[in-house]
């Protein structure tokens, strides 16, 4: 082996002198350096020499086996394609329910729910802070009555339901369980995911209610409750999507996400739960950006890093605890408002990267992503894009098809190293939560976002039709999602009806019990489920707990 490597290195030097140099003297390269979106400098050409430190069996291996670089399962898409899970949410529960049914009729295989800003932030629709935002960017869910209508007619034992919600996630989980109970479904058969990743909220998405430490307790309670009662449910979806959309590098996306994963595992283990009792149900969420190779490498690196963390740091024994499963969404920020149909091409490339990277489920953005929440035609093309990849491209026949590419394996190993460097730094600074409280992660992200912005403005990375090939004639018109201005009033009426029909004394009693439990170390889920069953609203539960948990106030850094 040693002789071959030396030969390649020698040959490369010779090639540089005899072939490359005379060529570039006549015709120089377009740029001095080519960098990935994440800022890593790409070699002109990669050879076996560049991956001499990569050991196939140790670092790459086989799908469904440690370190899971090639995929979490031994058959991957040969058994069934990824779950095609287009997110939807707008207006009232009834409005969104119709979109769900439309998408299922078009062949979608999972449901993903987008909530409006008040629901995400823990305000009821009739709160002063909610004005202008009810049902605008997602669906408004105030009480379990809304959730019953949201998933009406959908078999919750058959289709997996994902909910993108964070600071109030445990309440929405309670609503979901009461919905299932009132419709007669078996909890043990419920499959689905609640995002419930509060750490990345402080870093990137910025939806919060309480300070980090009490918020971590709520995440812990939902994980431990699920471990006991919901064998098929993913109680947390640790997310890198938002950090990347906020401008992080690819390495930061994986490193911050897995650092959050580490923090959740530590929190639950601290409560006396065995790591193998809950780790198999942890799930992850990454973006698929436009930088194809770097993205495929990123997904592979994420699986390898997590496997090693779980085995070496936490001593996990079960293979399921070490295998990282993830949902993926194409990059909203890569979409442009100008010539929006071009976003179909961008999204298709990003979706292909997700598939080459072994995603378990995927949302493809609509071409109107930069303009508004998606219209029905935009969502249909986005779903068709996935179906074309699954049915026509032929890529599902072989697992991890790009493995062994010198470039890809080098990038994969570099991202892995970047992650472990970040973990060392975060540990040195006192852990993930401390790093949020000290604004370390926020500042790292802001620096990366500004750097990427400057590189774009300097012309290092172009955006077609925005910074290059710009057509100054009128932007092509596309039909956008119509905002139903009356939806907000309909929601206020729905909420008023729920409040009028409930037993106020029972609600108050249930809320008092939630507050009592919050002050102890008991699991908060059972009391929350009881409150939701009595028709307490999300906003009421959030508000009742503010005096116990406090309210988070950010010190903004830029």
């Amino acid at each position: 082996m040693q002789t071959t490597e030396r030969t390649i290195a020698d040959q490369q030097r010779e090639w540089e002198q005899l072939t490359l140099l005379p060529f570039t003297e006549r015709r120089p390269e377009a740029r001095e350096a080519f960098r990935t979106q994440g800022g890593a400098t790409l070699e002109r050409v990669y050879t076996p020499e560049h991956v001499a430190d990569v050991d196939y069996l140790r670092d790459i291996g086989f799908p469904g086996q440690f370190p899971y670089t090639r995929g979490p399962y031994p058959t991957m898409y040969r058994a069934q394609p990824w779950t095609m899970r287009q997110i939807a949410g707008f207006g009232t529960a009834d409005d969104t329910n119709q979109r769900f049914r439309y998408l299922i009729a078009q062949g979608q295989t999972g449901i993903s729910t987008d909530f409006d800003m008040p629901t995400l932030m823990g305000y009821d629709s009739d709160d002063e802070r909610s004005e202008g935002e009810v049902g605008r960017e997602g669906v408004a869910i105030d009480s379990v009555d809304d959730m019953l209508d949201l998933y009406a007619g959908i078999d919750l034992e058959k289709i997996s339901v994902s909910m993108t919600i964070n600071p109030s996630a445990w309440i929405l989980l309670a609503m979901y369980l009461v919905t299932a109970e009132e419709r007669g479904f078996d909890r043990k058969k419920l499959s689905g995911t609640i995002q419930n990743d509060i750490i990345k909220e402080y870093v990137a998405q910025k939806e919060w209610v309480y300070p980090p430490r009490p918020a971590m307790r709520l995440v812990r309670d939902s994980i431990t409750y699920s471990a006991e009662h919901l064998p098929r449910y993913n109680p947390v979806n640790v997310s890198g999507y938002h950090s990347r959309e906020a401008g992080s590098t690819a390495i930061q996306e994986v490193a911050f996400t897995l650092a959050a994963g580490i923090a959740y595992v530590e929190e639950v283990v601290k409560a006396g739960i065995d790591v193998d009792d809950f780790a198999p149900r942890l799930s992850f969420f990454f973006v698929s950006q436009i930088d194809f190779l770097e993205e495929v490498a990123k997904f592979r690196a994420a699986r390898r890093v997590w496997a090693r963390v779980m085995k070496e740091r936490f001593g996990a024994k079960k293979p399921e605890s070490m295998r990282l499963r993830f949902h993926c969404q194409t990059a909203g920020v890569s979409c442009t408002a100008r010539e929006p149909l071009n976003n179909i091409a961008r999204t298709a490339i990003e979706a292909l990267a997700a598939v080459c990277g072994g995603a378990q489920s995927l949302h493809t953005n609509g071409y109107d992503e930069a303009l508004s929440i998606p219209s029905e035609p935009a969502m249909k093309i986005a779903l068709r894009t996935q179906q074309i990849i699954a049915e026509e491209v032929g890529i599902i026949g072989t697992i991890d098809p790009l493995a062994g590419s010198y470039a890809l394996e080098r990038l994969t190993s570099d991202i892995e190293k970047g992650c472990f460097d970040y973990f060392a730094e975060i540990d040195k600074r006192g852990g993930t939560i401390k790093c949020i409280e000290d604004n370390f992660l926020q500042m790292e992200l802001a620096d990366a976002a500004y750097d990427l912005h400057r590189r774009k403005e300097a012309g290092e990375r172009h955006i077609v039709t925005v910074t290059k090939y710009r057509d100054e004639s009128a932007n092509p018109h596309v039909e956008l999602h119509h905002v139903d201005e009356a939806a907000s009033q309909r929601q206020l009426d729905r909420l008023a009806k729920t409040k009028a029909n409930r037993d106020s004394a029972a609600v108050q009693k249930a809320l008092d019990e939630v507050v009592r439990v919050a002050k102890t170390d008991e699991n908060i889920m059972p009391a929350t489920i009881a409150a939701v069953r009595a028709r307490a609203t999300g906003g009421e539960i959030i508000k009742a707990l503010r005096p116990v948990f406090g309210t988070y106030v950010e010190t903004p850094v830029f």
Binding site: M117, P118, L120, M121, Y123, R129, S130, E131, G132, E133, R136, E137, E201, A204, Q205, K206, E207, E245, A246, G247, V333, T336, A337, R338, A370, L371, S372, I373, A446, A449, Y450, H453, E457, V466, N475, L480, V483, E554, T555, P556, V557, F558
Partner: protein
Amino acid sequence: MPIKVLVAKPGLDGHDRGAKIVARALRDAGMEVVYTGLHQTPEMIVNAAIQEDVDVVGVSILSGAHMTIFPKIMTMLAEREVDDIAVVGGGVIQEADIPKLKEIGVREIFNAEASTQDLIDGIERIVAQTGRDRSRREAAGTAGAGQAASR
């Protein structure tokens, strides 16, 4: 005296990437920048603008609530008799809404495609055209730091 800008982030959404990049770019261009942080009500924004005595308020909005938020800010500035503070906006604002916003006094909308140089030039132009009464500000001396923080 440098131009003083309040970068404001109303609404419940957390899309602050643009606001932070703008804040840093304006600071790098020599302006004095105060960033409100997230989740501000129109009232909080107007209070901060007065307390910080700024020339310009730059409102970043991506939640779709711009037709609710901007009118409130404009009305409050007028009520507090500080409507000489120029208001500009950015974020995801649909073309059709821009004339309506300009009608109520919003000076300029910088969409996601605007470069930071467009933004810097635009703010300098607006302040040069109808800047605030600088002598009043200078007489007032140092403005209070308020709740808003910068790096």
